[in-house]
């Protein structure tokens, strides 16, 4: 949940950059004939709001109103009592609270009477709210703007790439810390949670899936200042048949080697498919741009699901396999994509997607899968202390 540090730091993102983002959207609104753009968000999905204002919608719902000319306003179900906090952590100062968001929309639309009213990603607005807005604005043309803000966000600025690198670094550290912890999955989640929250993440979605024999899969999605990254590794113990393990490792490494500008998710899937013959039924691969990581890519518009990855994109690549013992094997990393390669930003964990752990009298011994084990890098995850690399 969004219960980590919320801060507006002008040294990280300057007020001018936020203003530029809003101006960029306003230009698009004018070009599309809209006098007002409306962006709906809730506690789970509010990346567009954070991009434009650093706003952390920590509960409930809200709408950012962006006029083609003039000042933005935030329409919220949150109480006016938290307005001072919102003003101190976001770049929006016109705040309007009420339980009827459509009524708030009607009022703000009346202040910007020219042109159409554009709804960003209308398809994800709550249907009853949309109906109510349409009724209240019956005399105004209403236009679906699709992923207009998402399109702006897909090409991160240098400032944003810095934040994404930090987010990826923290996601990887979460996996490394979980690996270093001992005990049950709850202990691993607790250790990772503490490191991440102390480092100042805004949100952390951690998943530890235990399996018989003390092995587990650990997955971290991390929100650093509104920028999401993803990392995951699977640790095996005992007698796992070598076939799925080798195929999984090969498939993941080939998939990551495929990543570069211009590649589509379907091409990565094809690569994985060729290495997971017989396993494909329980195997899936996801390539998700950073703008969609907040929601696992599940809110992506259908037409965006197989778009070519563009140069400069930051993406997560995740491979999932339902293993022979019924538990999930997951490997995931976050990459910065270039013309001819992709740089792994989650390099605080070794590149090997599967780690083997043998429990002996002297404690655990880690032995990652042979392929891709570079210079014993796997030991970084399993033998350094929890603070390693922090």
């Amino acid at each position: 949940m969004k219960r980590g540090l919320v801060v507006l730091d002008p040294l990280e993102v300057t007020p001018e950059e936020y203003a530029q983002r809003v101006r960029g959207l306003q230009e698009l609104l004018r070009a599309s004939g809209c006098g007002l753009g409306l962006i709906y968000g809730d506690v789970y999905r509010s990346g567009d709001l954070a991009y434009l204002t650093n706003l952390c919608l920590y509960w409930n719902e809200g709408i950012l109103a962006v006029p083609a000319e003039g000042e933005i306003a935030f329409l919220t179900k949150l109480s006016p009592r938290v307005h001072p906090w919102i003003r101190s952590t976001a770049t929006v100062s016109d705040l309007r609270s009420g339980q009827d968001l459509a009524a708030l929309v009607e009022a703000v639309a009346a202040e910007h009477p020219g042109g159409a009213v554009g709804l960003v990603e209308e398809t994800w607005w709550p249907a009853p709210l949309l109906e109510s807005v349409r009724k209240r604005l019956a005399d105004r043309p209403i236009r679906d703007l699709g992923g207009m803000v998402r399109a702006l966000r897909r090409r991160p600025s240098e400032t944003e790439r810095r934040l994404l690198r930090q987010s990826a670094r923290l996601a990887a550290i979460a996996v490394a810390v979980a690996a270093s912890a001992s005990g049950a999955c709850s202990e691993r989640v607790a250790a990772a949670e503490r490191e991440l929250r102390r480092a100042g993440v805004r949100d952390a979605v951690l998943w530890c899936d235990p399996r018989p024999g003390g092995a587990w899969t650990f997955e971290a999605r991390v929100d650093w200042r509104g920028y999401w990254a993803h990392a995951a590794r699977t640790v095996l113990t005992g007698r796992i048949p070598p076939k799925p393990e080798e195929q999984f490792v090969e498939a993941y490494q080939e998939a990551t080697a495929t990543l570069r500008a211009g590649v589509r998710q379907s091409q990565v899937e094809e690569t994985v498919r060729s290495h997971t013959e017989g396993l494909w039924e329980g195997c899936s691969v996801e390539v998700v741009e950073h703008v969609d990581l907040e929601t696992w890519g599940e809110h992506r518009p259908p037409e965006a699901r197989d778009e070519p990855i563009h140069e400069g994109a930051v993406v997560s690549l995740a491979l999932r396999l339902r293993g022979p013992e019924g538990a999930w094997w997951v490997a995931a990393d976050t990459f910065e994509v270039h013309a001819t390669r992709a740089d792994r930003l989650t390099d605080h964990v070794p590149p090997v997607p599967v780690w083997r752990v043998e429990v002996g009298s002297g404690g655990r011994h880690a032995d990652s899968h042979q392929r891709g084990d570079r210079a014993g890098a796997h030991h970084a995850g399993l033998h350094r202390g929890p603070g390693a690399g922090l």
């Binding site: 980590g4 919320v6 789970y44 009592r81 249907a127 989640v189 998943w207 929601t295 259908p302 339902r322």
Partner: protein, 356 residues
């Protein structure tokens, strides 16, 4: 359903409001969307957006028919509702949060089916807990107490708000919490509300308020307490007396048949008696408490005017949290379960102003 005149119920579960889906599946889910369709006659069907969630539903064993929930078509949902012929009328719980992506599909594909909001129906159904549910809530209460202990142990001058939250999160997750809804506010009389943590470092003399709400096995339980870093001042102690009297009055009022209005009024009357009645209004506060369970802010809301009678096994947090000029925003609240004779407190943590 028969009373409501509906032939089927679609329980919608966006990622931040999965309470109804959890109620019928028992499964902890991860995906952005989930749903359950329960016909008036027949077996329920669950819909999940991720394969891991399919496993989670199948593991609990309550629902055997699990299907993918895929946009933009939502074909499986439509197909299931149509089974045996399109119904004349269905209810949708959390209809107010159903995205147009699904709402539009229902309109197009089921043009003769009337869709009505069934959020209240589920809210009222979930209001009265089973014995098993109360037992889960008791377990969550132990986790809640431990989290608050960590909160107190972490408070000291110089520690930042977000570092306090980090320590609490660690404790809660170690004890098996799935999530935690936590708000915090540090400072003096100027504090008017609680929010997520900031970088502010705690100073000697600060009041630090928290609302800490772990979710364990799906069930949320909340504690509201205020601590002072250093020696409490006279106004801070008077604030404690006021809030404790109000909370105790609210808890004393909780019994079957008493309305949410009466529990709220019992608390507000204490403020009025001491001349602080204006601080019970929406300008300064939200509610005097609310139900708890699979959602952290359940029915009924404890507000004057809410004429919902409590029933045995209703679980409530009673919290007269508000701002007063005595010591700024102050929080004190305990969860209770309504029993046949009255109510039982679920926390052992002393209802006091903790000095650390």
């Amino acid at each position: 359903m028969a009373e409501a005149g509906i032939e089927g119920l679609l329980l919608w579960g966006p990622a931040w409001r999965r309470e109804n889906v959890r109620y019928l599946t028992g499964a902890p889910l991860r995906g952005s969307f989930s749903a359950v369709y329960l016909p008036a006659v027949g077996e329920p069907t669950a819909f999940v957006s991720r394969e891991e969630d399919r496993d989670a539903v199948e593991r609990t064993g309550w629902i055997r028919d699990v299907r993918p929930l895929g946009f933009p078509g939502c074909g499986e949902v439509v197909s299931r509702i149509r089974d045996g012929g399109p119904p004349d009328r269905i209810g949708v719980a959390l209809w107010e949060l159903v995205p147009e992506a699904l709402g539009g599909v229902l309109r197009r594909e089921l043009p003769r089916t009337e869709v009505v909001c069934a959020t209240d129906l589920l809210d009222r159904l979930r209001m009265v807990k089973s014995s098993w549910e109360v037992e889960q809530i008791r377990k969550a209460a132990r986790v809640c107490e431990a989290g608050f202990e960590t909160f107190l142990q972490t408070l000291r001058p110089g520690v930042a708000e977000y570092e306090v939250v980090a320590a609490v999160e660690e404790t809660l997750k170690r004890l098996g919490a799935e999530d935690n809804f936590m708000l915090i506010a540090s400072g003096r009389d100027e504090v008017r509300s609680m929010t997520p943590p900031g970088p502010r470092r705690i100073e000697r003399g600060d009041l630090v308020r928290t609302e800490l709400t772990p979710q364990v096995h799906g069930y949320w339980v909340q504690i509201c307490r205020t601590a002072v870093v250093g020696v409490p001042s006279e106004p801070q102690l008077r604030s404690l007396d006021l809030f404790r009297e109000a909370m105790e009055a609210g808890i004393a009022a909780c019994r079957p048949g008493v309305t949410a209005h009466e529990v709220a009024k019992a608390q507000n009357d204490v403020f009025r008696k001491h001349g602080y009645g204006e601080y019970c209004t929406s300008r300064y506060t939200r509610v005097r408490g609310h139900g708890q369970g699979l959602h952290l802010d359940e029915w009924p809301t404890l507000l004057e005017g809410v004429e919902v009678p409590l029933e045995e096994n209703t679980v409530l947090i009673v919290h007269p949290n508000t701002y007063t000029p005595l010591a700024g925003y102050f929080v004190l609240g305990d969860p209770v379960v309504v029993t046949r004779e009255g109510c039982e407190r679920l926390l052992r943590t002393e209802p006091t102003l903790f000095a650390v």
